[in-house]
Point group: C2
Chain length 172, copies 2
DNA sequence: GCGTTAAAGCAATATTTCTGCGTTAGACTT
DNA sequence: AAGTCTAACGCAGAAATATTGCTTTAACGC
């Protein structure tokens, strides 16, 4: 079912996608989809969330700044490029109880947690701080402004965050 | 038309809203709505964006920190309370060309610009910095996590941002 | 006043969504 | 192993929604 939806998302125009179309592609009765998901938005939300879930552990560069920057740039690319914005919007649209958005948030949090755990001795920012000041701005720009942020914006946010944290550590 | 939609949003359940229902309420033919907007999502997107647009200039407290904090808390309350999240999601859902999200972003930017202009002599953060590190985290939490952030989170973000900026000024 | 044009109504049609009912497949009991 | 129970699916018909062609209305410039 997810496969069929993904294939349709690639092949056809966005508004050519409908529950009957997905059903036909999956060789299944539309009724099945309606009973399982309720409507098209929920199917798309599930599929989109799934698309963000599958991924490798974040790449290693040897430094906290490097790892976070690389992840931020990857995140920016993944969310901002072409269909990425649509996927994010899909996740939000068909997610009445906040389940799929939760999955996406947890995925990002996991990646950051992994990275931070590699450098336990430095004055690390909290996971939430990275989410708030790196992931959130990227998403904000992708969702609410027309032009996606240029490459380098992600690592710029990371630099800014780490500078702030280090300053704090010194001041305490 | 917007009025009719708003009334329906208040009166009926969310999935009881349809294009024919709005048309009936507005005393108009459904065809008119379909031709003007295309589908329900676009209507809801327009109405939701409009809801955020209408507002007074941000309140004054006499200090940059105070004005920004007050605005941040207002923003948090407006976006996070009850139907707020739905409105944000609506804006995103029915906005193929990014027009309505642009309106929302501009509205937030305008409010921040007004506030910053009141204190021209201090080492102000840029408008984009406020958007990135105050508005964006609030929206991120509202959209992607289940429990809305507690009151005080907005002013906390403002404090963090201004502390960073001031530190920078001293260091330079 | 008169023609032009944009927007809306109306009616017919197509498509999607919903519901009731029958069938099948797998799990569990005896 | 046969019987029963449950959950999921298919099918067909009905209801609701979305689309289209054509007509009507109303506003504007001439």
């Amino acid at each position: 079912m997810h496969d069929a939806t993904r294939e349709l998302l690639v092949e056809t125009e966005r508004d050519g996608i409908s529950v009957p179309a997905i059903a036909a592609r999956a060789g299944v009765n539309p009724t099945t989809i309606y009973r399982r998901w309720g409507d098209l938005a929920s199917v798309l939300s599930d599929v989109a969330a799934d698309r963000f879930r599958q991924s490798d552990p974040p790449a290693e560069t040897g430094s906290l700044t490097g790892d976070l920057s690389l992840w931020a740039e990857y995140f920016l690319e993944e969310m901002g490029s072409g269909p990425g914005r649509s996927y994010v919007a899909d996740v939000l649209a068909g997610d009445a109880n906040g389940e799929n958005t939760g999955i996406c948030a947890r995925y990002a949090a996991d990646a950051i947690t992994q990275i931070l755990a590699r450098f336990p001795n430095t004055a690390n920012p909290a996971v939430d701080e990275v989410l708030d000041h790196v992931a959130a701005p990227i998403l904000y720009r992708i969702l609410f402004t027309k032009q996606r942020p240029e490459a380098g914006y992600g690592s710029q946010l990371v630099t800014r965050l780490l500078r702030g944290t280090q300053t704090d550590a010194h001041q305490v």
